[in-house]
């Protein structure tokens, strides 16, 4: 998983998740030269998981919702080791065919006098498609291979009903 915990869930409306950026994680080592920063692609993945859980929860995890399109991804600042990323995903549209979400990425940097206020560093808008409703009429396995146990586990671990 690329999020540590869900801190807020308003069903069918928004989900807020956090991720601590740790030097203990191998993907930080040597990335972007000398800097130990969280790769941008993994920040997009963190938002995709946050928004994906919001979309999946809205449908009771019955649909096989997959990330179909990154409609927008802008990141204006790097997240270095020791900081915390906060992902806020908002459900913009949901129907039988899929869903669209808008997301804000905030950075909480460590400081000598405690954590600094969260600062917006990017926006990530996503489009999810429900595989079983695809226009090509292609069939997929009956089991929900998209929303595995890990997604429900992080909801439960964070104190939310996993539906």
């Amino acid at each position: 998983m690329w999020i540590d915990r869900i801190v807020e869930l308003v069903p069918r409306e928004r989900l807020v998740a956090v991720k601590s950026v740790s030097l203990g994680e191998e993907h930080l080592h040597g990335y972007a030269g000398a800097g130990a920063v969280m790769p941008g692609a993994l920040i997009v993945e963190g938002m995709a998981q946050s928004a994906g859980i919001l979309v999946g929860h809205a449908g009771g995890f019955r649909e096989k919702g997959v990330l179909a399109k990154v409609s927008r991804a802008t990141l204006e600042r790097e997240a270095v080791a020791g900081s915390t990323l906060r992902y806020t995903a908002r459900l913009e549209r949901l129907d039988a065919a899929g869903a669209s979400t808008r997301g804000v990425v905030e950075l909480i940097e460590p400081g000598a006098s405690g954590a600094a206020p969260a600062r917006e560093i990017g926006r990530i808008d996503l489009l999810f498609s429900h595989l079983d409703q695809n226009a090509a009429g292609r069939e997929f396995p009956a089991e929900n291979f998209v929303f595995g146990e890990s997604f429900r586990a992080i909801l439960r671990m964070s104190g939310f009903d996993a539906v």
């Binding site: 179909a68 409609s71 549209r93 039988a96 489009l127 498609s129 226009a135 090509a136 009429g137």
Partner: protein, 130 residues
């Protein structure tokens, strides 16, 4: 108050610029969504969502872009859209101009019926219906 074709076109152009990351100048009425503007299948869902938001309308699944026509053996045979397929498209897509597809019904030409003008006509029917 009814929206004019120019007003609808302006909003449709805004939707396509955002959904497909194309320049405004590329979005002409005759531009084909796939061949000229680079739209892929998943972009159609994005366009539907954005049109709904821009115009405050509800678009049913398959209402703007048809479902399952190219995969149905009744509608496509030997790489061409059958007469039955053309009739189904005409019935499902009254906003589309099928003349070119009738003249050359190769299945690869189905995508060419979806031009910017097709979207403008579709929205016009939805918002000015009453």
């Amino acid at each position: 108050m009814a929206m004019t074709q120019d007003e609808i076109f302006g909003k449709v152009r805004g939707v396509l610029v955002e959904a497909l990351a194309v320049d405004e100048s590329d979005v002409t009425p005759e531009a084909v969504l796939t061949a000229d503007l680079g739209a892929e299948s998943i972009d159609f869902l994005d366009i539907v969502f954005k049109l709904e938001q821009a115009f405050g309308i509800k678009i049913g699944q398959g209402e703007l872009f048809p479902d399952n026509v190219r995969q149905d053996p009744k509608f496509v045979q030997d790489g061409k859209v059958t007469a039955e397929g053309l009739a189904a498209l005409e019935q499902r897509l009254p906003h589309a101009d099928l003349a070119a597809l009738r003249a050359d019904p190769r299945v690869g030409n189905v995508g060419r019926i979806f031009t910017v003008q097709t979207l403008v006509k579709f929205v016009d029917r939805k918002v000015n219906a009453s």
